[in-house]
Homo-oligomer: 517 residues x 2
């Protein structure tokens, strides 16, 4: 069976989505994650469309990847200039990227209304641009924009466009459903036709008809050897075809070994990693990788799964690094709590723990991302919890002074072993200042708290429609170098919620298991 | 062309999704909304599985619908009892619902591992149950559970099951991909086979492979005359097939007139209505009905849309009650800025505006959701911006006192027309307190600012991995009762970022257009 090439467009096409933006550093981290997953090609963007992209390519040039090849993205030459005189192509040629992906027109409607070039000139633009980059020693991926609309409008011309790209030496010619206007059956018909004209073709779909994944698979069934998509389907409008689901389907449903079993096991982690960087709440219902993608609620289902998982599941969740969850039907809930308590060597009344969790979740708490706070909850229930200190008071002052300077100062007053500690610290923000003041006091007694680092800080407004009166949920991730744990705070006051999460994160660090380790 | 029957399972199968729950009253409102949309059948649930369902059927019995028929949902008779002795079937027969949908087994694996009945007994259970309800004067929809898994395991037996249901008088036999384990090509093959055996068949899919919608359409292409789905695809695990997208595709892409043009215009409103009742944030990227489903960001795209919308859109957004939106972004062309400036009657150098936007977005600003701040930026560029006040300083104090009480107090010192205003206010959080103090001063001069309401408050940490040292982006939505606008602030200090957004939101409210209106 031909191997399918995985082409990720998250960093370029994906960034067209509303609110999508990553720093150059973050983009490099994404490429490493995609490299570990086993993606073949990563579209990084146009080398110098703006400072951020320029910075990104400088960084990428210095990185080494085990598997991934970087693709620089651009367009065919402008009309009326030779390829070697086109600035855009020159930038691509000069880039370190071994692969260049260029997009060109296929659809008469666009030639007339958008770029205003003749059909013949467009064919020349395609052929010469591809040939130029090939002559510069680049591997060229040619994206045939609006291929399917063009095919429906003028089959012969659409086929001439892709043939021109291949004739000029393109490694792969990609059929793009740019407007996301095609159905799987239309994709299949056109792709079968292309297969008669072109050696190696790929597919690039969007999700406007909620068929992005199915459209991609339809093309693969007709011989496409490259699938383009984005992590979790991020992208403009309704998004691009979701590469996560495409991988899952190719590998577990269609028998294409696109990844090793070990790489496939990273699918869930990779999907969540990208969401985290974008500060998107991972979709709990996302196919293959969602938190509840393998969850069961209906009583009959739960019974069935117990009898034989295959009765109600299309695959083993573990294969994609996900897990089965039986939703808080009392029973399932207790089992989970009991399991976690056992793992910590704690004796708890699981039923009471669940009641407590339900009550807290009703108030906006969420323990899935706050394992540290959940552990403290279990210890309290088990009666083995020891507070790190007794709080007298804390105060945080943030001011913008007359000279325009913003200053933050926090003061904490706490008691430890009958001793009173009063500390004040400045910070770049209220939480940072409170953290410094609190740890300034605590590290005198517990020096190792000095090594802790707050690695992640998330704020979510729970009932956003209540404006600033809404309840605020703060999630903190803390690391001691080996181990990372999450803590949570909920309060209508964002600073008070942050304080609560901060205290949990430090107390969790002091629990026996860690002190021993 | 055969008319396709729209069957909505939101109130029954949809409620299997995590966190999905509606009161009986709310469910009745949903049915009315579905009736207006033009849905044919609504699956309301099992008439007395619990008090809530019982109440629902009492209410529904008293309602009148223009178009919708209510379907009561149940199962085939238990093994070893006659159909007329089965309590479940008796409840269905007694229900006012003109339609009864019953689900039965098709898959040997389930017969062995879950229900433990013989293949022959199962056929009898199907036939006798359908026949009983038909004899009671019901129209019967038969759901063949796990049809596609069963078909792959034992084609002949699967076909005998659906034939048995039809033979006993079922109006429609529905092929259910219960585990969501099938791909469109598999659905097509099996459906084509069924079409040779059964008169009227329908399709019920889930989205586990992100192919729920495509699978449904694949069955329609093979002759399915009933499509089952849920509003926005809610449901267990990854959800059911999304009836909203199915309707959009059937009507606008496949030429099936399932709705009138006027009903199709209600698609967006209906989708959002259900989300609202379920207290779900509507997915802005949802196909057809999402807020940004027809948004454009890429500069080339924006230019194209302006030339001719069909160049970058698969349809007119208005046809489904949605609208086009152009996003401002570091990737966007000058055209967008120019258009927004025109709309405000401002003269700007679009190129300079874009450079400014790029520079700001590089620092973490994002104007897509902050149209208010973008308007102010345009006014500054046009030289017609007038600040609402001159800031001397602000200060915010948040403290948890020794008695445990959290208190927040803000003081602002500003100048307006040479007058100095010093105000202090308390609030339930820092932003709320600053807002009160600031407006306390400003409303003396601009009374109408009193009517403003902060309706939405979002906080994003931009480089989360920098922990509390990360840059914070605050988005505020403000309403004056008619109009809602977004404003943005970016600062490493969350309070300073909030202040910036707050000031923008008030200044935007003071701009000429609004004061006139």
């Amino acid at each position: 069976m031909t191997t399918i090439q995985l082409y990720d467009a998250t960093l370029r096409d994906g960034m067209q989505g509303e609110g999508m933006s990553l720093t150059a550093d973050e983009k490099v981290r994404v490429v490493h994650k995609l490299d570990e997953l086993g993606v073949d090609l990563v579209e990084a963007g146009f080398p110098s469309s703006n400072p951020k992209e320029a910075e990104l390519f400088d960084l990428l040039a210095r990185e080494r990847f085990a598997h991934v090849d970087i693709a620089a993205f651009g367009m065919t030459r402008r009309r009326g200039v030779t390829a070697d005189a086109d600035e855009g192509l020159a930038v691509l040629a000069a880039s370190f990227a071994p692969v260049c992906t260029i997009v060109g027109k296929t659809w008469a409607l666009h030639l007339e209304k958008v770029v205003r070039v003749s059909a013949e000139e467009n064919l020349a633009m395609i052929g010469e641009s591809v040939a130029f980059l090939v002559a510069q020693g680049k591997r060229v991926v040619y994206d045939a924009e609006h291929f399917f609309d063009a095919y429906r409008a003028d089959r012969d011309y659409a086929l001439r466009c892709v043939a021109a790209a291949q004739g000029a030496g393109a490694e792969t010619v990609v059929l793009c459903d740019t407007n996301g206007s095609s159905l799987p059956s239309q994709i299949a018909t056109a792709a079968a036709d292309v297969a008669r004209v072109v050696e190696r073709f790929g597919i690039h779909c969007h999700d406007d008809l909620e068929c992005g994944v199915a459209n991609t698979l339809a093309a693969v069934e007709q011989g496409a050897v490259q699938v383009q998509g984005t992590m979790n389907g991020i992208g403009e409008r309704t998004g691009n075809a979701n590469l996560i689901s495409i991988i899952g389907n190719l590998q577990t449903k269609m028998g294409h070994a696109v990844l090793s079993a070990e790489q496939l096991g990273r699918l869930t982690e990779t999907a969540h990693f990208v969401d985290e960087l974008l500060n998107r709440v991972p979709d709990p219902q996302q196919p293959y990788v969602g938190r509840v993608a393998f969850a069961h609620k209906g009583g009959m289902h739960v019974a069935g799964v117990r009898a034989d998982a295959s009765t109600f599941e299309h695959m083993e969740p573990e294969a994609v690094g996900n897990e089965r969850s039986l939703l808080v039907s009392e029973l399932a809930g207790r089992a989970t709590a009991a399991e976690k308590a056992d793992a910590l060597g704690l004796e708890v009344d699981a039923a009471r723990v669940i009641d407590r969790v339900k009550e807290l979740e009703h108030r906006g708490y969420q323990f899935e991302a706050a394992d540290g706070s959940f552990e403290l909850l279990l210890r309290k229930e088990a009666g083995v919890y020891e507070p790190l200190f007794r709080l007298e008071s804390w105060r945080c002052i943030v001011e913008q002074r007359a000279d325009g300077k913003v200053e933050t100062e926090a003061t904490i007053k706490i008691w430890v072993d009958g001793e009173r500690y009063v500390r004040t610290a400045e910070g770049n923000g209220p939480v940072n200042a409170l953290d410094r003041a609190l740890r300034d006091a605590l590290t005198e007694i517990h020096p190792h708290l000095r090594d802790l680092e707050l690695v992640n800080f998330k704020v979510r407004i729970l009932d956003e429609t209540k404006g600033t009166g809404a309840v605020t949920r703060v999630l903190l991730d803390t690391s001691d170098g080996h181990d990372v744990w999450g803590s949570i705070g909920v309060n209508e006051n964002v600073i008070a919620a942050s304080w609560e999460a901060l205290v949990d994160s430090l107390e969790r660090a002091m629990q026996p298991a860690r002190v021993r380790s």
